[in-house]
């Protein structure tokens, strides 16, 4: 391949297709000519043909474009930020949240609150967790900052409900324990990058 295309520094012209637009006629004769040419050109019929063709395509060639939501749903990106989910550890089924409060801190609309306590096993227990969805702007910072990949954004975008409160407590967000096998890892912001292992420096261990 030559270097010609790089030598053309007339940026803005090289890869564009310019349309041959008619100039607005100024003389009476010019206007007359334009009318005549437009009248006898089949442009209008091209329009009719296109719509008719699309109808045939839709009806008989299976090219109907409609997705019949809610009976059919389009797949959404794994990075989609819908209503939050709290994940569980796959091995033990215990919730992942450690109650560190980083999500609460980073939340720019100040809508996350949590109650924690010292539990019987000398661990920090999240006794309640809530997101005020009246304020949440679904920015995803909470999922990004979460060190345990505990709070993530789920794919559940159908959030019509009689009460906002139906989504906002720990129980509502937590993966039901009987559906643990269906729990999906989150791929969005804050998820472990595919090459995470390469970036870790190992610490010596005595045993």
């Amino acid at each position: 391949m030559g270097l010609e295309q790089f030598k053309n520094r007339n940026v803005g012209t090289q890869n564009y297709k310019t349309l041959d637009l008619d100039h607005t006629p100024v003389t009476g004769m010019g206007q007359f000519k334009q009318v005549v040419s437009r009248t006898f050109k089949p442009e209008l019929f091209v329009g009719l043909w296109v719509t008719f063709r699309e109808m045939i395509n839709a009806l008989f060639r299976g090219k109907m474009h409609t997705t019949q939501y809610p009976f059919e749903k389009l797949p959404i990106s794994p990075r989609y930020r819908a209503i939050h989910e709290m994940l569980r550890l796959l091995e033990s089924g215990h919730y992942r949240c450690i109650g560190c409060g980083l999500c609460e801190k980073i939340c720019i609309s100040n809508c996350i609150t949590m109650d924690t306590r010292y539990d019987e096993n000398q661990r920090k227990e999240v006794s309640e967790y809530t997101i005020n969805f009246g304020r949440c702007i679904f920015c995803g910072y909470c999922a990004e900052v979460c060190p345990e990949l505990a709070i993530v954004h789920g794919p559940r975008y159908e959030t019509a409900s009689e009460q906002r409160a139906s989504f906002s407590l720990f129980e509502d967000m937590l993966t039901p324990i009987d559906k643990l096998n269906l729990q999906q890892e989150y791929q969005g912001f804050g998820a472990v990058s595919p090459n995470a292992d390469e970036n870790i420096k190992k610490t010596p261990l005595a045993y």
Partner: protein, 337 residues
């Protein structure tokens, strides 16, 4: 059709036919909304209504229920009487126009042997009556727009006035040439003129096209639906209407579409004459259906024009063409004699 049939026109017959026309046409007008939505959807590769009843057929009933039960709002500052009467004018003129239009061939009801001319009233100035009635329909949108105390409505009625009045001229002039050829103002005579199988459109293609274009304007259809062009004037003269009053405008528009379809079929496309082995009644249904479909098709394909373009088209293109067409037709008739 000769004068011997005239005694058959009885008062009872006329009333029955009037009721039939009213019932059938308003039903078809309603059904037309369903068809319109379906056709437009298909042309955009959508499904259209499909959840109410099989293939969404009962959507029509759902809409009817909706229109009947919707709150009827009359704006505080509207002229209430005119506001209330305006939609009735539109619907009424549309239906009255159909009284002088023959839709089917005359027939005899079996067993009771009653001969029925399939026209409510075969008045000898049928065409003038129909055109006149449709012109009177202008009052509907005009009054509606002016009565509702809404600036969009005012703009809508202003557009009504210019658009309807202007295109009346084109309609009249374009249909004048066929009238000169047939020599009668009765639709039945037009039909009979074409009984030999040669449609008038063959002699008068320009008149046909002009009539069609004017028909779009008269019925307020895309690309000339400037009276209620949403993108410019909200909903024009129907801005403040809701419920069944709005429904009457709607029915009137569809009835007018059917009327235009019937006139085009009878005047230019051979009427209800048998064609080859196809019976006349089927032929005319087919023709009306196609003209209806064509209106929808055009709506799917073509964009709106601007009001100034509309006027330009009317007065600078269509009207001169129509006049020229009349003159040429006259000369040809004169030479042929």
């Amino acid at each position: 059709m000769d004068a011997t049939h005239l005694p058959e026109v009885t008062a009872a017959g006329v009333i029955i036919k009037a009721v039939l026309i009213l019932a059938v046409v308003s039903a078809i007008a309603g059904f037309g909304t369903y068809i319109e939505r379906k056709i437009l959807a298909f042309m955009q590769r959508r499904y259209g209504p499909q959840h109410v009843g099989p293939y969404g057929l009962l959507q029509l009933i759902a809409d009817g229920i909706k229109l009947f039960t919707k709150e009827d709002i009359i704006p505080q500052h509207a002229n209430k009487i005119i506001f209330a009467v305006a939609p009735v004018i539109t619907a009424a003129t549309a239906f009255i126009a159909l009284a002088a239009v023959p839709v089917f061939p005359d027939f005899t009801i079996p067993f009771i042997d009653v001969y029925v001319p399939s026209i409510a009233s075969d008045i000898n100035i049928g065409i003038l009556f129909v055109l006149g009635m449709m012109a009177a329909g202008l009052y509907g949108p005009l009054l509606a727009g002016m009565a509702q105390a809404n600036k969009w409505g005012i703009i809508g009625s202003a557009r009504t006035a210019i658009q309807f009045l202007s295109y009346e001229v084109v309609t009249g002039l374009s249909i004048l040439a066929p009238i000169m050829m047939v020599g009668s103002l009765s639709f039945v005579d037009f039909n009979d003129y074409q009984a030999d199988g040669t449609w008038l459109v063959v002699y008068q293609p320009v008149a046909f096209i002009l009539f069609l274009i004017a028909g779009f304007a008269e019925t307020n259809r895309t690309p000339f639906d400037l009276l209620e062009h949403e993108a410019e004037v909200i909903s024009g003269y129907v801005t403040e209407y809701s419920g069944m009053r709005w429904g009457l405008f709607f029915i009137g528009e569809y009835a007018n579409m059917i009327t235009i379809g019937v006139i085009a079929s009878v005047v230019f496309l051979g009427g209800y004459n048998d064609f080859w082995i196809i019976p006349g009644w089927l032929m005319i249904i087919g023709k009306i259906a196609f003209s209806f479909f064509f209106m929808l098709w055009v709506r799917a394909a073509w964009p709106h024009v601007r009001p100034d373009q509309l006027m330009w088209l009317c007065w600078k293109v269509l009207m001169p063409l129509a006049v020229i067409n009349v003159v040429i037709t006259g000369i040809v008739i004169m030479l042929a004699q």
